[in-house]
Amino acid sequence: MTIITHIAVTAIGVQALNLRGRDAVLAFLFGVAVDIDHVIKAPFYLRYAGLTNQKDYYWRSSLQEPVAFLWILPLCLYFGTIVPALFFAIHLAIDYSVGYEKMPFYPYSRYISRGWLTQYPDKTKEITLLAGLACCQAYLLWVHR
């Protein structure tokens, strides 16, 4: 999914849970900013493909795979809040609805997954999610008016 979807989901989650201050920052860090690993992969992409468009290039890293719970949960224990794990789980749930290859437990396992709901086209899932998000946002605005 696009970064816009992650930002929208996180923003709605922050409003719905009425998060403020540190918790709101943590929500955006683990709901959106974990995508920073694409920046780490950018030099590899440029080396591989230059400025050409290589669809399906492997942009993912363990920073946004389920294996990251191994370090996010101790962080939750340290901060005394479940917010990082919750928003990271939402980030993962969205990413795993797109049907490209993923390595959920690398480097501990080389198991490959294409995520869930693979029988539906990615575009259909994204449109459905965006429609759902729009409804959630409208509901939140109506509740807080």
């Binding site: 690993d37 590899f44 399906d56 492997y58 224990l77 290859e101």
Partner: protein, 207 residues
């Protein structure tokens, strides 16, 4: 003592040689015996710290770390180094840290939560340190700075440094895997599957 700074391990071996010679040639001890023996002062250090005597506890901890340095020096000098010995050394190091850290919690110097966080971070880093080759060495060593910093601060540093090192190690391994996938090229839709197979084959060759 300097196992946390691997680069200094070998250069200091000549300093330990008189002691390792006595331990090996006169007493007939093996590196694994020294490894296990290093656990004893560490456990005593934990008990001493738990009873509130941090200074004495740190001296005992230093004794444990000194013994820990002798086993590696002996293994290298007498060509007794082995993967099993390395695993045992790591296990005893982690047990020593767990005991000493818990001693600090029982003694009331730091919260149990902070101790658990620090131990979790160290355990996570241990799972990838041999593959990624990155270990900042901020474990027991940090506790010697208790004279200048509070123990909660030091445990927070141990937690933060080791957890950060773990995340960096994961990224290092990811980047290596990416290089392997880039070398393979071809159909990018199945690149992870083919990369995983290639990596498994490489591992089998090295084994």
């Amino acid at each position: 003592m300097l196992s946390g700074i691997p680069a200094l391990g070998s250069p200091l071996d000549p300093l330990y040689r008189p002691v390792t010679r006595v331990l090996r040639e006169h007493l007939g001890l093996m590196p694994s015996h020294i490894t296990w023996a290093s656990l004893v002062p560490s456990l005593l250090a934990a008990l001493t710290i738990a009873r509130g005597h941090v200074g004495a506890g740190l001296w005992l901890m230093a004794l444990g770390q000194l013994l820990d340095a002798f086993d590696g020096a002996m293994a290298r000098h007498y060509h007794l180094a082995s993967p099993e010995g390395h695993r045992l050394d790591t296990l005893v190091d982690r047990l020593s840290e767990a005991a000493i850290f818990l001693g600090f919690a029982v003694g009331g110097f730091v919260s149990l939560k902070l101790v658990l966080c620090a131990l979790l971070a160290i355990a996570l880093l241990t799972t990838v340190v041999d593959r990624a080759g990155f270990d900042p060495g901020a474990k027991r060593m940090a506790l010697y700075f208790g004279h200048w910093f509070t123990y909660p601060t030091l445990f927070t540093v141990i937690f933060g440094v080791n957890l950060t090192a773990y995340v960096i190690s994961l990224l290092v391994l990811d980047c290596r895997f990416q290089l392997l996938m880039d070398r393979l090229g071809g159909d990018l839709d199945t690149i992870a599957t083919r990369g995983a197979l290639a990596e498994a084959a490489e591992e089998a060759v090295h084994r």
